[in-house]
Symmetry: C2
Subunit: 120 residues, 2 copies
């Protein structure tokens, strides 16, 4: 998994355990894509201080992941949900429009998509 | 949600953040259903000490839940997965044995049951 994606997901799980300042800087960097220089400017600190704060914050959430493994659990779930969605799509492709089951299956697919997206 | 069930689920998410001793006592009490007296005996401490340790451990994992809300997220998912499973069951009940879709739908149901159970 790409570092940016991984850190974003880890932040989604564990961000609430960081200080307000750590959360703010993580969000600016990882969600808003600000540069280190831009964040340093906004926070009134050096570029190096922002770099250090980001590294420390990443280490904190990686340590929580090592203990709780929520991202790993989430990834397994996503894999299973995606397999279910694909299997359902295959069935849908084989089901005639006139089949009364079709709208029911489409609703199930919608609910599964909702699950896949909402967890993120 | 009943306290025992709630604490068991919270422990499942956040237990990794407790000390080894806290984990051991929580498991004896909440998973193995030992009494305070039995745990006190096994740990060589007073019944009151076990009681205090359990209260402290519960407070720690409740504090993590207040910050991260993983049980709340999990509960929402379980509700949605159960709704999907029920909808699928209704479709299965209306599908003739001879319908080639039926075994496919049964497999999807199995996968959803797997998800409902594995997250716990």
């Amino acid at each position: 998994m790409e570092r940016l994606v991984r850190t974003g997901l880890l932040y989604d799980f564990y961000g609430g355990l960081l200080t307000e300042k750590q959360q703010r800087v993580m969000e600016l960097y990882f969600l808003e894509n600000w540069s280190l220089a831009e964040i340093a400017d906004a926070e009134g600190v050096s570029r190096q201080a922002v770099h250090d704060l980001l590294q420390r914050s990443e280490k904190i959430i990686e340590d929580f992941e090592a203990k709780l493994g929520l991202l790993e659990r989430y990834s397994r779930q996503q894999t299973l949900l995606t397999a279910i969605k694909d299997r359902l799509q295959t069935i849908l492709n084989q089901t005639a429009e006139s089949n009364p089951i079709k709208p029911e299956l489409l609703q199930i697919k919608e609910q599964i998509l909702q699950l896949i997206e909402s967890e993120n």
